[in-house]
């Protein structure tokens, strides 16, 4: 990997609180994303993964520290595109209309929009559904439209917030492959949020493991598995298993620290909270 390249995204000692500072979401987060790199943010619930993505997108601002995208404070715009857990398509627009909507925001000339949108739909295999409305599509197809919309603006950074979490296992598998193929062709940087360890190891070049409450960086790991991964499935390799085990051990350790138990204590009030003053 080209380690010498200047980072595309850099976070330095980033902190963020919610509810007037009562809830500490993120603390002292520092990492870089290089151009063309596929980075996964992994961690148990409550570790601020989605908050981090929104910070990078510029939807919210950090309370402490510094977030830089292309050397600038981030602003929602054409350099960044987001894919959400649900497709978030505008239900009153057709499939092609939804992509045209994003292209219009990007400032593409009106006459080029439809053609480009159709080309993108072809790339995700949905060209014949261009005039369908989102509710006529299955969840997997909707998510592909969401992906096409994000790719259509040709972002330098693709932000993905658990994009496959709500899909069935088979669709998820297919879309992972498509994403890797898309990425290898276009080589935008991808910041991929997931709570699925296997998915993180399978897809990414680097994994940022986060600890919850408040969200902190636990460990940053390079994933060294043979490329291209959509052709030779790395899941059978010992390296994959080792990586997976290592990550699970870390997460079990976190749970042992009471991170998840705190949540459980709230769910069953008659149970004695094991570490109520953990925070």
């Amino acid at each position: 990997m080209a380690v010498s390249q200047a980072p595309l995204i850099s976070l330095r000692q980033v902190g963020k609180s919610f509810k007037d500072g009562k809830v500490r979401a993120l603390e002292n987060i520092s990492f870089d994303v290089r151009p063309g790199e596929f980075v996964s943010l992994v961690g148990p619930s409550g570790c601020g993964k989605t908050t981090l993505l929104r910070l990078i997108n510029g939807l919210i601002e950090a309370d402490e520290g510094q977030v830089r995208v292309l050397g600038q404070p981030p602003e929602p715009g054409p350099d960044l595109a987001m894919v959400f857990q649900s497709a978030r398509l505008l239900p009153w627009l057709t499939v092609v209309g939804n992509i045209v909507f994003a292209l219009a925001l990007r400032g593409i000339a009106r006459e080029d929009r439809t053609q480009r949108a159709l080309a993108l739909l072809g790339a995700v295999g949905l060209r014949e559904f261009a005039d369908a409305y989102p509710h006529e599509l299955s969840g997997g197809m909707q998510q592909r439209v969401g992906l096409a919309r994000a790719l259509a603006v040709e972002p330098k950074v693709l932000l993905m917030d658990e994009p496959f979490a709500a899909l069935d296992a088979m669709t998820r598998e297919v879309l992972r492959g498509e994403l890797l193929r898309m990425w290898s062709r276009r080589r935008m940087a991808i910041v991929f949020v997931t709570h699925d360890i296997d998915e993180a190891v399978l897809l990414s070049q680097r994994i940022v493991l986060l600890r919850p409450r408040p969200g902190r960086v636990d460990e940053i790991l390079d994933v060294e598995l043979p490329e291209p991964r959509w052709q030779n499935d790395p899941r059978t390799l010992p390296a994959f298993a080792a990586m997976r085990k290592h990550l699970w051990d870390r997460i079990h350790a976190m749970v042992g620290d009471g991170a998840e138990l705190e949540e459980l204590a709230g769910a069953f009030p008659d149970v004695e909270p094991p570490q109520a003053q953990a925070r």
Binding site: N57, L59, E75, P76, G77, P78, L80, A81, M82, F84, S86, R88, L90, P91, W92, F101, A102, L105, R106, F129, A132, Y133, P134, H135, E136, L137, S138, G140, M141, R149, V153, L159, D168, M170, T171, V174
Partner: protein, 292 residues
């Protein structure tokens, strides 16, 4: 792929060489479903006609036992209807009523939607005006009639104001609620793609509020018919309301019923029209509700 598409889209791909005669079996299934639907439609219509006939029989019975004053003979009502339609009484009254109703509704729709957009779009404005809008909305429209008479007189313009006053608040409240409760996920999506505030508002929040705006209009239109009749009863008597009270005062129940039937038809027609508009303009939402 395991993905399912709506039936009409997958139908062509089903006709693959693997299945022996998918086209004909699909046609048989479609035909069976169509027959079932037609039968159900027939049952509904049949029941409706029966209920209408029962009403007529009831009218006859009441007329025969209690006399013309309690309930007119349906045939007399039909007679009077024909006379009043052909001598221009009802068409003229209908014209007057429709003028008041139409102008009032138009005014209420324009002001209600624009104020609603303002109140729903700007949280601060919405919060400031909320108690006032609620106060006005919960006051019966008829309460303002004396004031409106003093300010605007007794004729068409005053009646239009009565209708406007009755209909504007439901339209305004529905519009404002639709916009302020716009889908947060979609708003965030548009913001993430760099939508400006104006784009966000006109291309996401207002379309998202469209179903809510349209149901506001439908409720408003129904109230408009009520408002029109009330205005025509209490102010200078005119239109269908005027005919109604004139016939009622003279105990001409057959004439009275002839007018009531027109009002019923008018109300039904207006609601049906707006429901049609709702279906066309917010097709995506309607089909979501009806299930795939």
């Amino acid at each position: 792929m395991t993905e399912l598409a709506p039936a009409h889209r997958t139908a062509p791909t089903l006709a693959s060489p693997h299945s022996p005669s998918p086209v004909s079996s699909a046609a048989v299934l479609a035909e069976r479903a169509r027959t079932r639907r037609r039968r159900e439609q027939g049952m509904v219509l049949g029941s409706q006609v029966t209920i209408a006939l029962l009403f007529l029989v009831g009218m006859y019975a009441l007329n025969a036992t209690a006399g013309n004053l309690t309930m007119p003979n349906p045939l007399d009502v039909l007679d009077k209807s024909i006379i009043m339609w052909s001598d221009g009484t009802i068409p003229r009254a209908l014209g007057q009523s429709l003028t008041v109703l139409g102008l009032g509704f138009l005014l209420a729709a324009v002001t209600g939607i624009s104020l609603g957009i303002l109140l729903g779009g700007f949280r601060f404005v919405g919060r400031v005006f909320d108690p006032f809008v609620n106060a006005m909305n919960s006051t019966p429209g008829a309460a303002f009639i004396p004031l409106i008479i003093v300010w605007f007189g007794l004729y068409t313009e005053a009646k239009v104001i009565v209708v406007w006053n009755a209909a504007v608040f439901p339209i305004l409240i529905n519009t404002a609620a639709g916009i302020s409760s716009a889908n947060k996920d979609l708003v965030e999506m548009a913001r993430a793609f760099g939508a400006s505030r104006m784009t966000l508002f006109w291309k996401v929040m207002v379309p998202d509020a469209m179903p809510s705006i349209l149901s506001g209009l439908r409720i408003g239109a129904a109230i408009c018919t009520v408002g029109t009749v009330i205005a025509e009863l209490t102010m200078a008597q005119s239109g269908l309301g005027g005919l109604l009270i004139a016939a009622g005062n003279r105990f001409q129940m057959d004439r009275y019923f002839a007018v009531v039937i027109v009002l019923m038809a008018l109300g039904t027609l207006i609601t049906a029209l707006l429901r049609y508009a709702e279906r066309r303009l917010a097709r995506w939402r309607v089909s979501l509700q009806e299930g795939r």
